[in-house]
């Protein structure tokens, strides 16, 4: 197992390097971090800024310099606001982690419950409703769902029922002057987490249903039933554990992708997470931020892929990793 993990980590290093090269050269070729200064009336300012940022050096030299600094733990400063990139990404990552934690936890519980229900009551009215709803959920892009949720929940609903203020918020994670885990935080969290979870629940519940159906049709389940075990025990203990194996691996992979993939949700709800950091860096051609962002996001993807593989072995002892 340990050898497998070490080998997988070793293999991921060249993947990260190649990704960083593609991003660095791609962003450098298409963006100019001094673009904003094109509107200064001072002709010398662009040259001075180009020199300050090291943009006057060949792109290969810049890349090697960045890589060696990064390897030493020096992530540098943002080209744009001169904030420490490490601090910037650290803060954003913590915020995105909160969204992912709640989003994944809620999605997992709901998706598994729907999957079990649909599989054990195949073709029932409930199964058909859940199946239809999951296809609706899959086809709703987060930017659309988020905006509709803001309009319905924070505007139309309070007007309809005569409330003075909105029950849920859609602006950041705290009201002004608030911090920490409290009711205000939860009222801010519901809509972005709902936006994040709709497609995930729809997707995971389909996997869970399919997997559960496979398991429930297998011989050992039939044997368990024949032995007279209670239905609840057959489903939850013997069926669910095995049916979770494919879903857990998919969940692990999806979670890794989420670290860099919440651009839309974070943008709509003004949540200063990893997605917003990426968007701002991309707009400004800020390779100093984009590359560490890429490394962190890619590291999470690699790590969670690894977790998926390891979990596979843990959940099914017949599988041995080598």
């Amino acid at each position: 197992m340990l050898a497998f993990v070490i080998r997988r980590i070793g293999l991921s290093i060249p993947v990260l390097l190649i990704a960083s090269i593609i991003v660095f050269f791609g962003v450098s070729a298409t963006s100019d971090p001094t673009a904003r200064l094109r509107f200064s009336r001072d002709p010398g300012v662009i040259k001075a800024e180009t020199k300050r940022l090291g943009l006057d050096k060949p792109v290969t030299v810049r890349y090697v310099k960045w890589l060696s600094s990064f390897a030493k733990g020096d992530w540098g400063q943002s080209f744009v606001d001169r904030q420490s990139v490490k601090t910037k990404i650290g803060k954003a990552l913590w915020i995105t982690l909160q969204l992912i934690f709640f989003g994944v936890a809620i999605s997992a519980v709901i998706a598994i419950a729907i999957g079990i229900y649909s599989a054990t009551r195949q073709y029932s009215v409930g199964d058909v409703v859940f199946t239809g709803a999951s296809f609706v959920g899959l086809s709703m892009p987060p930017f659309w769902f988020g905006l509709i949720a803001i309009d319905l929940i924070t505007f139309k609903l309070p007007r309809r029922v005569g409330w003075d203020s909105t029950p849920l918020y859609s602006l950041g994670l705290h009201s002004s002057g608030q911090s920490g885990f409290n009711v205000d935080y939860l009222r801010h969290l519901v809509l972005p987490v709902a936006t994040l979870t709709v497609q995930i629940i729809a997707s995971w519940s389909r996997y869970q249903r399919s997997s559960m159906l496979d398991v429930m049709g297998s011989d050992y389940i039939r044997t368990a039933r024949a032995k007279g075990l209670p239905r609840r025990r057959v489903v939850l203990k013997h069926g669910l554990r095995n049916a979770l194996i494919p879903l857990v691996t998919i969940m692990a992979v999806d979670i890794g992708v989420l670290f860099g993939g919440l651009v839309i949700t974070e943008q709509i709800f003004s949540i200063p997470g990893m997605g917003r950091v990426f968007l701002r860096a991309l707009e400004n051609g800020d390779t100093n931020v984009m590359l560490p962002w890429l490394m962190v996001s890619a590291a999470f993807i690699v790590a969670f892929n690894l977790v998926a593989d390891v979990l596979y072995g843990v959940l099914d002892p017949r599988i041995r990793l080598a």
Partner: protein
């Protein structure tokens, strides 16, 4: 000072480019009445009159403008392709390199001085002489333009500046350099049942420049200001720094949210023009002696910083020194023409210019303001200021600035002005997605927003408890033409293009529902610039298909069977 609103990505920021393929029309006749024969179809080598317009990605208004333009030009016989790019690519690479035929973007003047020499004088064509940083991206070359705008920049007499500016604009129209199109409505949307106080437009310092007069209403008809409470405003962008002279500055929103409330400045730029602020004891004296321009600022004896220390002429000296001699300065324009700042006494600053400078009222104000010497001298100014500062010379002080989230201001207890702040605090929430911001405003999470002009804002007018106040602002959009790139290297084609564009249709399609009666601009400034907007030299360029045909035929073009001119 002119900035360009770069069309920062809106919505999800990943809008797909709208590049549309050339459509081969089956039209067999033209509405121009011209002969639709030969060259295009008969000559296999004839190239269609086709061009690409570049604009920023993710901006609905620009996408709609380009689509209206494309449709109108096709009717006339000109093919237009649309290409959107992220702003750092468009403004950082393509436009300075001259790798475009026509571009669509906005100019956002932050003062009343149009400083058109910057974008039209031939010395500012990007090249070795200006280290490729000149902003004359349209490659306009005209002696008459150069002469008029250069003289306007060094003329201190406002009446003469207007005449010179007019002359320059006429010269621009004579060479068909580029085509001004639409002024932007300056839109304020707020909850009139909660937001009290004179809610005013200010094109340079932002609508909250008089926020010290705002108050929280407890009833919709309350007209008497009350003390206390909080108002929350939506801010489309977050400033990258609060060091207003640093290269990371230059954001209008930095001034709207922080700078205008905390930095003392010599002049306010109001819709009626410049007005001396309470920092000064009165209008500064302007003298010309042997060609040397001198401005004498008499400071208000009561003017103090938030720590109680007086604002003095030494602060003017420090500000001048930092801008002229400091490192990483955003823009030294005007300050580099200053020869000296003498502190005759603590409350008198004598500013002497080495060469005359017309827009002197923008100095020690505008986007910069005056910096406190006693707090910054000998220190790293950028480190002290970039993340916000605890001092103030305005009606408000920064309480806290949580990056990517909000900035909160509270009243400056030592504000020397006549009107003390009514509110306990005001909060700016950073919310860069326009659609989401409108949703947050409708649900009263925000009390007021100042959105960029977008066509779909008309829907706000139907929302209860919302007042949408719209006037023509200083910002405008134009079709910027590369005068050196084919087919626009031929003045006849440029002139034909001017007559092919239906500017009235664009303005009506974009803004009529938001601001009924809004007019096309016929100069490179808007009607809101009362000091300069004058003779409308571009007024004659209205859609005229006969003239287009006449001009293009004269330039050797003929319409092909597809209805598109070719040569």
């Amino acid at each position: 000072m002119i900035n360009v609103r770069t069309g920062r990505t809106r919505g999800i920021g990943l809008a797909l480019p709208l590049a549309l393929a050339l459509v081969a029309s089956a039209c067999s006749s033209s509405d121009s009445g011209s002969t639709t024969t030969t060259a295009g179809a008969a000559n296999p080598d004839a190239k269609p009159l086709s061009m690409t317009i570049y604009t920023t990605a993710g901006n609905k208004r620009r996408e709609l403008t380009a689509q209206i333009l494309q449709s109108g030009l096709k009717e006339v016989g000109i093919d237009l392709k649309i290409q959107t790019e992220k702003s750092s690519e468009l403004f950082g690479k393509r436009l300075p390199a001259g790798d475009f035929q026509v571009a669509l973007y906005a100019q956002v003047p932050a003062s009343n001085s149009p400083v058109l020499c910057n974008i039209f004088c031939s010395e500012n064509i990007p090249g070795p002489a200006n280290e490729n940083s000149g902003q004359n991206w349209t490659r306009t070359k005209s002696e008459a333009v150069d002469k008029a705008f250069k003289e306007a920049d060094t003329e201190a007499d406002q009446a003469k500046r207007k005449v010179l500016s007019d002359q320059g604009e006429k010269a621009l129209a004579d060479v068909f350099t580029s085509l001004p199109v639409d002024p932007f409505p300056d839109i304020l949307a707020y909850n009139p049942a909660k937001v009290g106080g004179p809610v005013l437009h200010n094109f340079a310092h932002g609508p909250w420049y008089n926020a010290n007069e705002y108050y929280v209403k407890t009833s919709a008809d309350q007209a008497t200001p009350a003390k206390g409470g909080e108002l929350v405003f939506g801010a489309e962008q977050e400033p990258d720094t609060a060091d207003w002279i640093n290269t990371a500055a230059g954001s209008s929103w930095g001034i709207y949210t922080i700078g205008a409330h905390t930095m003392p400045r010599a002049f306010d730029y109001l819709p009626d023009g410049y007005k001396a602020t309470e920092l000064l004891a009165g209008e500064p004296a302007l003298t010309m002696d042997a060609g040397k321009q001198t401005v004498t600022y008499k400071l208000n004896p009561a003017a103090v910083w938030s720590d109680g220390q007086p604002i003095t002429s030494a602060d003017f000296q420090y500000t001048f020194d930092q801008i002229k001699n400091g490192k990483d300065i955003y823009d030294r324009t005007g300050y580099k023409d200053i020869e000296s700042v003498d502190a005759k006494d603590p409350k008198t600053a004598l500013v002497t210019f080495a060469t005359p400078y017309g827009d002197y009222k923008d100095l020690f104000g505008g986007f910069y303001g005056v910096f406190p010497k006693h707090l910054l001298d000998g220190k790293d100014r950028n480190a002290e200021m970039k993340d916000g500062y605890k001092w103030s010379g305005g009606p408000w002080v920064i309480d806290h600035w949580t990056k990517e989230s909000e900035v909160v201001l509270t009243p400056n207890p030592n504000w020397y002005g006549a009107k003390k702040a009514n509110l306990d605090k005001m909060t700016f929430k950073f919310n860069s997605d326009t659609s989401a911001q409108i949703g947050n405003f409708k649900s009263k999470q925000l009390d007021m927003i100042y959105p960029q002009a977008q066509p779909d804002l008309k829907d706000l007018k139907t929302v209860p408890d919302v007042k949408v106040d719209t006037v023509t602002g200083l910002s405008y959009e134009a079709l910027w033409i590369n005068n050196e790139k084919a087919p626009f290297d031929d003045p006849k084609v440029r002139e034909a293009f001017f007559y092919a564009v239906d500017r009235a249709a664009i303005v009506k399609g974009l803004f009529e529902p938001i601001q009924p009666g809004i007019q096309v601009i016929n100069a490179f400034m808007t009607q809101a610039n009362k000091d300069f907007y004058g003779s409308e030299p571009f007024a004659g360029f209205k859609k005229d298909t006969k003239k287009v045909d006449q001009l293009l035929t004269g330039a050797g073009y003929r319409k092909g069977k597809d209805g598109i001119y070719a040569k």
